[in-house]
């Protein structure tokens, strides 16, 4: 089947865009999909006689983004079951969240877990870099008890900070926060992976 230059250009542009959108998939799978769609376009166009049928064929396939999205979901969740990257796991959960309630719950819980874990790591790093500029304080004076008397981690830049309250954990705050934050991120990651393995099942009919 020989296409006109204009049709060939449209097909090439479509396949290039599709290949780009299929990047999250393993290259051999993406190539396989693109080749199959290419063969379909050629077969379909050969079966039609009138000009402009390539554009009709491309329209029937949907945009490259829509078509790629149908392939990506299963692949993303399949990868999430074996990945060691929290980013891949979180992206997969975000995609799953658009498909089911359990996916949404898993995503929200994971997002909260990663956020708190990351915050603890940041606090630990600050304490490690600026040991005398911040900390968690307990002020025994009436009406001002709690963390730093203002309810949060306090940090000031420059100089040494003096606080009327009693500093809790002191230099242990850095390793504690780092360890706790890392543990929380790890447990959240494991929880996300477990949820996908336990509750996600590939459905042939989803998103059709």
């Amino acid at each position: 089947m020989i296409l006109s230059a204009e049709s060939q250009k449209a097909v090439d542009a479509y396949l290039t865009a599709l290949r780009k959108k299929l990047r999250p998939l393993p290259p051999e799978d993406a190539n396989d999909i693109v080749e199959e769609i290419h063969a379909h376009i050629l077969d379909k166009s050969a079966a039609m006689t009138a000009e402009g049928m390539v554009s009709t064929t491309l329209a029937a396939l949907g945009t490259p983004d829509e078509l790629a999205a149908r392939y990506r979901t299963d692949e993303l969740l399949k990868r999430a079951q074996v990945t060691r990257s929290p980013v891949v796991s979180l992206f997969s959960l975000a995609r799953w969240a658009t498909l089911s309630l359990i996916g949404l719950v898993a995503f929200v819980v994971s997002l909260a877990g990663y956020a708190v874990g990351a915050l603890l790591v940041v606090i630990g790093l600050f304490k490690l870099i600026y040991p005398h500029n911040g900390g968690i304080f307990f002020d025994p004076r009436p009406g001002s008890h709690g963390i730093d008397g203002s309810g949060g981690f306090s940090f000031v830049s420059g100089g040494t900070w003096t606080h009327p309250g009693h500093e809790v954990f002191r230099l242990w705050l850095a390793p504690s926060c780092l360890a706790l934050g890392a543990l929380l991120v790890f447990l959240t990651f494991r929880l996300g992976t477990w949820c996908i393995r336990r509750f996600w099942r590939p459905s042939a009919l989803r998103e059709v």
Partner: protein, 151 residues
């Protein structure tokens, strides 16, 4: 001015879409029962032998999922048209699944047809001289005759 579809028509259309979606997996497995086919042949088979009009952009991802579920397997085959084609065939698990789904379909449709038998009379064209009122009377009469009919 654009015509706004009535809620009942819209709901019927949605229901029909869901019904078609629900039968698509079985339809594809059935299309592959007699041997290997490539994507476009599957689409043509569905269009010619069933009432299913499948959007092309959905059939390939669906075939990919059926492959992931090990219900079909695929292979690239050189063709006379100048480019290779990806053919799909049923795996033993796919054949078993198709048979199982066909059994469920047959049982379900038989029972539904039984339930809908008296409604079919209602949807037939009304012969001359027979009003909808007559049809309703006939339905009521047939319901009274059922052994486990309404009290």
């Amino acid at each position: 001015m654009k015509e706004i579809p009535s809620p009942s028509v819209e709901n019927s259309e949605k229901w029909e879409v869901q019904l078609r979606k629900g039968s698509l997996e079985l339809a594809i497995l059935a299309a592959l029962w007699d041997g290997r086919l490539y994507g476009l042949e599957i689409l043509r088979e569905l269009e010619s032998k069933s009432d299913l009009i499948v959007v092309e952009g959905t059939v390939y991802p669906l075939l990919n999922r059926l492959r992931a579920l090990a219900l079909v397997e695929s292979e690239w085959v050189e063709s006379d048209s100048g480019h290779p084609r990806k053919y799909y065939r049923l795996t033993p698990a796919g054949r078993q699944r198709a048979l199982e789904m066909t059994r469920i379909w047959a049982r379900f449709s038989a029972r539904m047809n039984n339930l809908l038998a008296h409604l079919n009379e209602e949807t037939r064209p009304v012969p001359e001289g027979r009003t909808p009122y007559d049809s309703l009377c006939r339905i009521s009469e047939s319901r009274r005759r059922l052994p486990h009919g309404p009290p």
